[in-house]
Symmetry: C2
Subunit: 142 residues, 2 copies
DNA sequence: GCGGTCTGCCTCGGACCGAAGCCGGTGGGA
DNA sequence: TCCCACCGGCTTCGGTCCGAGGCAGACCGC
């Protein structure tokens, strides 16, 4: 019942890009790692997953690095977490109301509940974009 | 980002007790395991944890077993899950706005978000009692 | 009251799996 | 030729899931 560090790290990395307004000039993995205090090799493969999901673009060679693929308003935390942690669900015990999944008492009722919880989390995270985070970050605290 | 099987199993077991209206006569672990199709030894220690949390009472010897400690209306899913899975949170990366926790950009903003998500899940599960589940179970599907 | 049996209580341990993180090599760009 | 993204594989670590086995309390028949 918790977000893995991958989700947290990925969010921090992209938030870092958004904070520096780096929608054009690439930022190297090393710079991101320094600014966010994250382990560099680990962050590397996380960024790779984010690229695979189409959330960032990369540029190789000298002066290369990563750039947000879309505007911060268009990137939600749900997309980030889903990209590195897989689909956002609460409990993976199959689907309710399907073949032999509900052959014991109360089972499919609980499955429905977990599904509702997962959906609620998704809704929450879909409404939080990187732009919102930037606003929160600059508006409230350090 | 998911409920462990412990939480699911514990919920199923208590729901089974509630469905059979066993607020007085004890039900043995073996019977619960049969009705819910759960591994009996595993279920045993889960029930032990639930007893430690004060959600069920036990009776030893012949004709012994487990009984709900309170009325189904008084037992929420949040209590059950918290009893077997620990506190319900989304991401355990420390607390926001404390000593050196927010010394890197955007960190405490994200911490606040995870905290919000966790709180939302807790609220949802606190509003779902065993009595609600019984109603859902008997009212809608098999 | 006494032993047997039924049950919960408790602990130990191990298989299994995913998370977390490091490393070396490859190849494309300036 | 240097820089840096890319690409795997690989290890370590801890948690989950579950079984085995023994101990202790409760009720029974006698």
């Amino acid at each position: 019942m918790k977000v893995s560090t991958r989700g947290d790290y990925a969010s921090r990395a992209l938030l870092s890009l958004a904070l520096h307004g780096a929608t054009q000039t690439p930022t190297s993995v090393r710079d991101i790692a320094e600014r966010t205090a994250l382990p560099q090799p680990y962050l590397e493969q996380i960024l790779l997953a984010l690229k695979g999901a189409g959330l960032v673009r990369s540029k190789r060679g000298v002066g290369g690095g990563y750039v947000l693929a879309r505007e911060p308003e268009e990137i939600s935390l749900a997309q980030i977490v889903a990209a590195v942690d897989g689909p956002i669900v609460a409990g993976d015990f199959g689907e309710p109301h399907e073949n032999g999944a509900c052959d014991h008492e109360g089972q499919c009722v609980l499955l429905a509940v977990w599904a509702e919880v997962g959906e609620q989390i998704r809704n929450k995270l879909q409404n939080l974009t990187l732009a919102d985070m930037v606003t929160r970050s600059t508006g409230t605290a350090a």
